[in-house]
């Protein structure tokens, strides 16, 4: 697989899902249990991505400048600071630690 293959297949899949919601008669996903799982799936995947992105380095778990950056980001989100500002501050925290420590 090349990067383009990955991009094309993933884009086709997400677009097909969007179309399914509008073209297929409602039913399965409106029931309580599937709707709840679909909802929690988003939470689990995003949380797992945060963990891997913060602690993962290939197949190793390491604690480095990303950890304080993410803690600062969490504090800023709690204070309702806008997304784009938080992301920029998190990058600056990690970059600052790497430059000066």
């Amino acid at each position: 697989m090349t990067t383009w293959h990955i991009i094309l297949i993933a884009s086709a899949a997400t677009l097909a899902l969007k179309l399914a919601g509008h073209l297929v008669p409602a039913g399965f996903l409106e029931r309580e249990r599937p709707a709840r799982i679909a909802d929690l799936l988003t939470v689990a995947l995003l949380s797992a991505l945060i963990a891997v992105q913060t602690l993962g380095a290939g197949q190793q778990v390491v604690v480095d400048a990303r950890v304080p950056a993410v803690i600062v980001a969490a504090a800023l989100y709690a204070l309702k600071v806008p997304f784009i500002v938080v992301v920029a501050v998190a990058a600056a925290v990690a970059a600052g630690i790497r430059a000066f420590v």
Binding site: T3, R36, I50
Partner: protein, 251 residues
């Protein structure tokens, strides 16, 4: 892309008198949410290039995939595992796109409105811009007509803005060079946290988030990059199936 709280639905207004007011309120909501969301296309563009995509591939994702969570996830998994993690990257992006099916089902009657006879292209366009924000703005309006305006105005504002800022971010990312020195890896984690944050209002969601993070971390040393995230998805299926961690008020 962030889901807006559903609590800001306005109280129903008197019928007939406020058509113009409803319309401008829907457009105001759409522009506020749309412009704020479009702005962080910059971070997507920069992170995608940092993950090894070229500018064309980055822009293709924003044009065709056009759903922020899946886009960030795809480039995040590719950044950690490269092309070898392609299968995991596709699966993660697709699973994050499942919520758009639910949104589509909710938006279909609003987009159709009174007359059912809409062309296929209009349906496809509606599906294309069915995302967290267009759905949330539509659901926050007090009438179907305002909801329809809010859906389209938000979707189109974000589509145009997101693609412009993605290109800008990709060009900036291209010029940065050493992305670690700029802290872009930490920025990616902060971006995922921003997507997750508005979903953590309920205890059950918080419990799933903590458990999924632990599972993904424990799986990292033993599985190929990309797979730990997929394994963590099992947490959602188990908790959702048995409806665990619900806090019921003590009787």
């Amino acid at each position: 892309m962030n889901e807006r709280p559903e609590t800001d639905a306005r109280p129903p207004e008197e019928h007939g008198e406020n058509l113009e007011g409803e319309r401008s309120a829907a457009i105001r909501d759409s522009l506020a949410v749309g412009l704020a969301t479009a702005a962080y296309g910059i971070s997507f563009g920069a992170l995608a290039v940092a993950a090894g995509l070229d500018v064309w591939q980055t822009c293709f994702l924003s044009l065709v995939m056009f759903t922020g969570g899946s886009q960030f996830a795809l480039v995040g998994v590719l950044a950690s595992g490269g092309v070898a993690a392609g299968g995991s990257a596709i699966a993660t992006a697709a699973m994050l796109g499942i919520r758009n099916v639910v949104y589509g089902m909710r938006m279909k009657p609003i987009v159709d409105g009174a007359d059912e006879a809409h062309g296929i292209w209009r349906r496809v366009a509606a599906a294309w811009v069915t995302i967290d924000e267009s759905t949330a703005v539509a659901l926050a309006q007090s009438t179907d007509r305002a909801a329809r305006i809010g859906f389209w105005a938000t979707g189109i504002t974000i589509f145009v803005g997101w693609n412009v800022t993605t290109l800008a971010g990709a060009l900036i990312g291209d010029a940065l060079g050493d992305t670690k020195a700029w802290g872009l890896d930490a920025a990616a984690a902060a971006a995922f946290l921003g997507l997750l944050w508005p979903r953590l209002k309920r205890f059950q969601a918080g419990a799933v988030a903590v458990a999924a993070a632990i599972v993904a971390t424990l799986a990292t040393p033993v599985l190929m990059p990309g797979l730990p995230v997929l394994v963590a998805a099992v947490v959602a299926v188990v908790v959702g199936w048995f409806d665990l961690f619900t806090r019921r008020p003590a009787a």
